[in-house]
């Protein structure tokens, strides 16, 4: 719409500007549409590019790993090749049980500590709590190998400095549990804090109004209400811990038999994948795919399961 000069009215700078903008816009429209289609298309291409390696990994895992899944794989212990039986391979039951024990014990002490510390962060606003929060944030971002150093120096070798003396236990499942537990605590802490803070204030206040003391409110009101978020947090932290290799690289020793006692040396699935993948024996390298597939399967089941469970709990609550 062109506004020509209307007799008697002076030209309005705003209207002139609008007219200029519309003129430019119309002239450039085709080019802009072209650029837009191109760039949005590029984004689509980016998405496809992103999916390629990810699908490639899943495909390799399935294709190379599934053929290892038989009863022997899950129930037998490893065997070693020899000149009379160069294809001896056995199974990985030692690694599966080892992972179970190590991660189970880690979860056993990390979960209560993480949730209680999360409750502390949610309920307190002191300097100590904000410092703790920052510490937890730093700890979740640290490379997990550092926790392996920590566990090695504290638990395996023992501590003998600054007047404190801790005997070392030697290589053991407990050392691995310690490393993985300390890894899990800050993750659970921060996620629990978010979940617990999500409990609406009126619910807490109602408890206080009834005269209940805080620990009772926490136990009977806040935690049950936040349970879906807490369970999700715990399961996700656990699924991350199951896949960690670096913290247990040099602290759990090794075991070629199924070992249930955490006081002793054990094997573990991620560590076994690492060792088998870098082995010169072709059969072991191929077996690593089978273990990797199982590990990914476990991790995905826990992840999916936690989401579905949280969603179910939400619906139940309605």
């Amino acid at each position: 719409m062109t506004m020509g000069v209307i007799e008697g009215i002076p030209p309005d700078p705003i209207l002139e500007r609008r007219e200029m903008v519309q003129r430019v816009a119309r002239k450039t429209l085709d080019r802009r549409i072209l650029i837009s289609r191109g760039m949005v298309g590029l984004c689509g291409v980016a998405l496809l590019l992103a999916l390629v390696p990810l699908f490639a990994i899943l495909y390799s895992l399935l294709q190379k790993g599934i053929r290892w899944w038989n009863l022997d794989f899950f129930t037998k212990v490893p065997q070693f090749p020899s000149l009379i039986d160069p294809n001896a391979i056995g199974g990985v039951s030692n690694a599966i049980i080892g992972s179970l024990v190590i991660d189970g014990i880690a979860a056993l002490f990390a979960i209560p500590i993480g949730i209680v510390a999360g409750l502390f962060l949610a309920e307190s606003s002191s300097k100590f709590s904000s410092m703790l929060r920052t510490t937890a944030e730093i700890m979740t971002g640290l490379p997990s190998i550092l926790l392996g150093i920590f566990a090695y120096q504290m638990i395996v070798i023992g501590f003998d400095e600054w007047g404190v003396k801790l005997p070392g236990i030697g290589f053991s499942g407990i050392a691995g549990s310690f490393a993985i537990g300390v890894l899990m605590i800050p993750v659970i802490m921060k996620a629990s804090e978010t979940a617990l803070r999500g409990v609406p204030a009126p619910i807490r206040e109602a408890g206080l109004a009834l005269g209940a003391r805080r620990s009772v409110i926490a136990r009977k009101v806040v935690i049950p209400t936040a349970l879906p978020g807490l369970i999700t947090a715990v399961l996700l932290a656990f699924s991350r811990a199951v896949g960690e290799t670096a913290p247990i690289l040099w602290v759990i020793g090794a075991s070629n038999i199924v070992e249930w006692s955490p006081r002793k040396e054990m094997a573990s699935m991620p560590l076994q994948i690492f060792q088998s993948a870098t082995s010169p024996y072709v059969a072991l390298r191929e077996e690593a795919w089978g273990i990797a597939l199982f590990l990914v399967f476990v991790v995905l089941v826990i992840n999916l399961g936690s989401r579905l469970f949280a969603a179910w709990l939400q619906r139940e609550r309605r």
Binding site: F80, S82, L83, F171, G253, N256, K264, E265, T278, S279
Partner: protein, 402 residues
């Protein structure tokens, strides 16, 4: 019915004779269960343990194939014994671990010396080398596999020590350089850069290899042999453990490296290209059990102080070979039960069962690509183990279950 008296007598005699014979013959034929009347009492007792115990070892990857196979065999024969998986972390770490007492024995290809101890402990720490004993447990060799893309040759390449030294120092950079081509006139070598593979960790195998280079080519390889990781020429690849080096050679084209012989023997893809090394007598030999045995035979009286069998004389002696050892504390075991299991396991490991017809460690070793320890070395192992004492100063290696 009535049986004639003579017949009855005959039948009884036969029955008695058969029973008597079977009491002796059947166990003798079965082998493993007899109350030994002949054979080695210590060896028999090695599989008998009164108290249950768990031990674990760490160290040399040179010994790892043997340890992995042998442990399973020993545990199957010995009730009450549990042996943790052998941690193949390299000789250097094995020595550190035994010093810190986080394992029961440290595996190393180079017997631990006082210098080694000083290096690993902060100064002022008083551990004497005499607090340990070194038990020889296996005899093997170091192979030089290569992986040259585009090489179509059935015959193995030949190297001399000076050529290998030149390669590892970075003086010889291409496969078709005159030094290498001169040794292999019948083979057309490609014009590609050599990728040198060595150990990233502290390794006894590195010691055996560098000791060979130093003994055979002292003008080219001027540094003293040691376990510390070699400085690689540009583009070199460092592998962790013998297994890592073997995997790196398999995966990297135009590479060459040094690997304990078992790893090559049990791995068909590496077996395709293993070099022949010129020995002291001038013959080019690929590694073989016979060659390693000849090297050991050329220097039969080794001790923990004088242990190297590299570069031995004799036309059939393979020039890069060595023993591997288990380092254990002479006293101060974690417990008597653990100490007993430890010495019995190592005794079983270092002996052949040929006398009894049973299987012992060196029989397992033979199936893993090692040469069974010569008889005098087996005796050395036994004598060394008899020096290990328990909490009351008693000798732990017994010829009963104790």
């Amino acid at each position: 019915m009535r049986i004639h008296r003579t017949v009855r007598l005959a039948l009884t005699t036969t029955a008695v004779a058969v029973t008597a014979l079977s009491m002796v013959a059947v166990p003798a034929l079965a082998g493993t269960r007899s109350a030994k009347t002949s054979g080695d009492p210590y060896l028999t007792a090695d599989n008998r343990l009164n108290k249950s115990a768990t031990i674990g070892g760490a160290g040399s990857t040179f010994a790892a194939p043997l340890q992995n196979a042998a442990q399973a065999a020993y545990e199957a024969r010995t009730p009450n014994a549990t042996i943790n998986g052998y941690q193949a972390v390299g000789s250097g770490t094995g020595e550190s671990d035994i010093l810190k007492k986080v394992v029961d024995w440290g595996g190393t290809d180079v017997p631990m010396s006082q210098t080694d101890i000083y290096q690993k402990e902060p100064s002022g720490f008083n551990i004497r080398a005499s607090a340990f004993v070194e038990v020889p447990i296996a005899l093997g060799g170091v192979a030089i596999p290569y992986n040259i893309s585009g090489l179509n040759s059935k015959t193995p390449l030949t190297f001399t020590a000076s050529v290998l030294a030149g390669i590892y120092e970075g003086h010889i950079t291409n496969w078709n350089s005159s030094a290498i081509q001169g040794l292999n006139p019948k083979v057309k070598l490609p014009d590609s850069k050599i990728v040198v593979v060595a150990r990233a960790d502290s390794s006894g195998t590195t010691y055996i290899f560098t000791n060979f280079l130093r003994s055979a080519a002292p003008k080219v390889w001027t540094t003293q042999p040691s376990k510390t990781p070699l400085t690689l020429p540009t583009g070199g690849v460092a592998g962790s453990g013998n297994a890592g080096v073997a995997a790196d050679i398999e995966n990297t084209p135009n590479s060459v490296g040094y690997v304990e012989y078992s790893y090559v023997l049990l791995n068909p893809s590496l077996l395709k290209g293993v070099a022949a090394i010129v020995n002291k007598a001038g013959k080019a030999l690929t590694p073989s059990l016979a060659g390693i045995a000849a090297a050991a035979a050329a220097k039969p009286n080794i001790t923990a102080a004088n242990f190297s069998i590299d570069w031995q004389a004799g036309p059939t002696a393979y020039p890069i070979a060595g023993y591997t050892w288990a380092v254990i504390w002479r006293g101060n075991q974690t417990s008597d039960a653990q100490g007993t299991l430890l010495v019995k396991y190592l005794d079983w490991l270092s002996h052949s069962g040929a006398v009894d017809g049973t299987t012992a460690g060196q029989d397992v070793a033979a199936l893993q690509g090692y040469v069974p320890l010569p008889a005098n070395i087996q005796a050395l192992a036994r004598a060394t183990l008899l020096k290990v004492t328990g909490s009351h100063g008693q000798v732990l290696l017994t010829s009963n279950g104790g």
